[in-house]
């Protein structure tokens, strides 16, 4: 977990806490969220039972443009795009269809897209924004923490802001003073409310 500045799992059962550390690591790694989170503190008490995750987020400025995953080669009235990563191929095609029309866009194989009779400058095509991963960030984070938290803990309270987040879950109704607990956990990572 080298990408995180701070990562702690607090649990009255040391072995259980260690397993949850592993689970958190695996889930965040699988969902590609390690780059996004700066600090993370998890508190689990199976006796209550309650699961609290608090953390701070890094600023994400990674807008995906065509040039990030494709080479644009203009040649004799047509522009050939050689795709190196298929992840954003579908949204890119959708944008091309909307901008140039389906008649001008052709995809002869998985890694090639051809544009015919397109007036736009190849540089402009390279700069076209295809996706903004930060749009789905909160959704991804909530999903990831749902996977990390014990499954029976179905009553949840999630607060996600631009720079910090808290995720609380329990199988019982959340206590009225749960916010105070969240504040103390935030204090551990140096965040004031």
């Amino acid at each position: 977990m080298a990408a995180l500045e701070y990562f702690e799992v607090e649990c009255p059962e040391p072995l259980g806490g260690e397993y949850y550390r592993q689970i958190t690591n695996d889930v965040l790694l699988d969902h590609n969220l390690l780059k996004v989170i700066e600090k993370l503190h998890i508190y689990i008490d199976p006796r209550v039972p309650v699961f609290v995750a608090v953390g701070t987020l890094r600023k994400i400025t990674t807008i995906v443009r065509v040039r990030d995953f494709a080479n644009v080669n203009p040649l004799e009235g047509k522009i050939t795009l050689v795709i190196s990563d298929e992840t954003y191929l579908a949204p890119m095609l959708k944008i091309f269809w909307e901008t140039f029309g389906k008649d001008h866009v052709e995809q002869p194989d998985r890694f090639t897209v051809m544009l015919y009779d397109v007036k736009m400058d190849p540089k402009q095509i390279e700069d076209m924004v295809v996706a903004d991963p930060s749009e789905s960030l909160f959704r991804d984070l909530i999903y990831a923490f749902r996977c990390v938290a014990p499954e029976g803990f179905r009553l949840r309270s999630e607060k996600f802001a631009k720079d910090k987040f808290s995720f609380v879950a329990s199988e019982n109704t959340l206590a009225e003073d749960i916010d105070a607990l969240v504040v103390t956990k935030f204090a551990l990572i140096g965040v004031k409310p």
């Binding site: 059962e13 072995l15 259980g16 397993y19 949850y20 592993q22 689970i23 695996d26 889930v27 699988d30 689990i44 199976p46 006796r47 039972p49 996977c147 014990p150 499954e151 029976g152 803990f153 179905r154 199988e171 019982n172």
Partner: protein, 312 residues
């Protein structure tokens, strides 16, 4: 004649020689898988003839290995079908157990997860009881396991092997009355078991299940069954041709004390009871033919010698 469970692995070429040999020796083939050009036979063969099979299989590069779990149906009880428990560790364990010959079924509980909210309904209880062994896969916290285990084991009559995150001593300490088997340090995890230490853990689970199965076999041997389940399987396959049209991977699943017949109970219960085994003794005389809680299958429970006074 003592029949022992073994697995034969070899090429598809001339594998019928081995099949004929096993049948001629008085053994039974419980499952046959053809995977590409490889054949895997899970079978019961006479103990004294294993070497003979090995000798005959040698020129065709066949291998005979001990598979203590052949002829058992094992319930892998997973707390839910959510991403939290599947595919790791539930599927990993179910698959691993399958490799050494057991027929494993995943039983997932409707309200398994949680501590206070965990529960077991009557259908789940009955389905688990239809198996030979139940492997409970619980979570990582001692507190939760201690709290929910009494609820989850209520009404379960088959031996339980308990897998959980705490170490084995902790599991032994918190479970009262004790269950038949414990495997510690196998709780909830979310990564594929492929490293050597993880595979060692799976081996540990299998070793514990094998130990429990062997103990159950010894118990059965004290009051032997009136007829061998594998023999009944062969007989049903011969006398009830409808079983050949069932597309399930194991239309007849051999268990330690009986077998599951994957045919509708209403239509086939009476013909099954009427099957003559030997000398006028019918299947209905030495076994109980009951409806299974699993779909509309039939469960044949073979009665012990002490109840029928016959062994055939």
């Amino acid at each position: 004649m003592t029949l022992v469970p073994v697995t034969y692995k070899g090429g598809i070429y001339q594998h019928d020689i081995i099949m004929d040999l096993i049948e001629d020796l008085g053994g039974y083939i419980v499952q046959k898988h053809i995977i590409a050009a490889e054949v895997v036979l899970q079978c019961f063969v006479p103990k004294d003839d294993i070497e003979l099979i090995r000798t005959i299989a040698k020129p065709i590069f066949g291998e005979v290995t001990d598979s203590p779990l052949v002829g058992t149906e094992i319930a892998i009880v997973s707390m839910s079908l959510e991403i939290h428990h599947l595919p790791h560790p539930s599927c990993d364990i179910a698959e691993y157990v399958r490799r050494i010959g057991a027929k494993s079924n995943m039983v997932s509980l409707a309200r398994g997860p949680g501590k206070r909210i965990a529960g077991l309904n009557d259908e789940e209880r009955d389905v688990i009881n239809e198996h030979d062994v139940a492997v409970y896969l619980l979570g990582n916290f001692e507190t939760c396991i201690e709290y929910k285990m009494p609820t989850l084991r209520r009404g379960i009559e088959v031996p339980i092997v308990l897998c959980g995150g705490p170490d084995e001593e902790a599991l032994r300490r918190i479970i009262n009355p004790p269950v038949e088997g414990y495997v510690g340090n196998v709780g909830r995890f979310m990564r594929r078991t492929k490293e050597a230490d993880q595979l060692d853990k799976l081996d540990e689970v299998v070793a514990e299940i094998t130990r429990v199965v062997e103990k159950k076999r010894n118990d059965i041997a004290k009051d032997p069954l009136s007829v061998s389940p594998a023999r009944l399987m062969d007989l049903i396959r011969e006398k009830v041709p409808a079983i050949l049209d069932v597309t399930s991977p194991t239309p007849l699943t051999v268990q330690m004390r009986g077998l599951r017949v994957k045919l509708p109970y209403d239509t086939f219960a009476a013909p099954l009871r009427a099957i003559e085994i030997e000398d006028g003794i019918k299947l209905g005389d030495v076994a109980e033919v009951a409806p299974s809680r699993m779909r509309d299958y039939i469960l044949v429970k073979i009665l012990p010698f002490s109840e029928t006074n016959t062994v055939i």
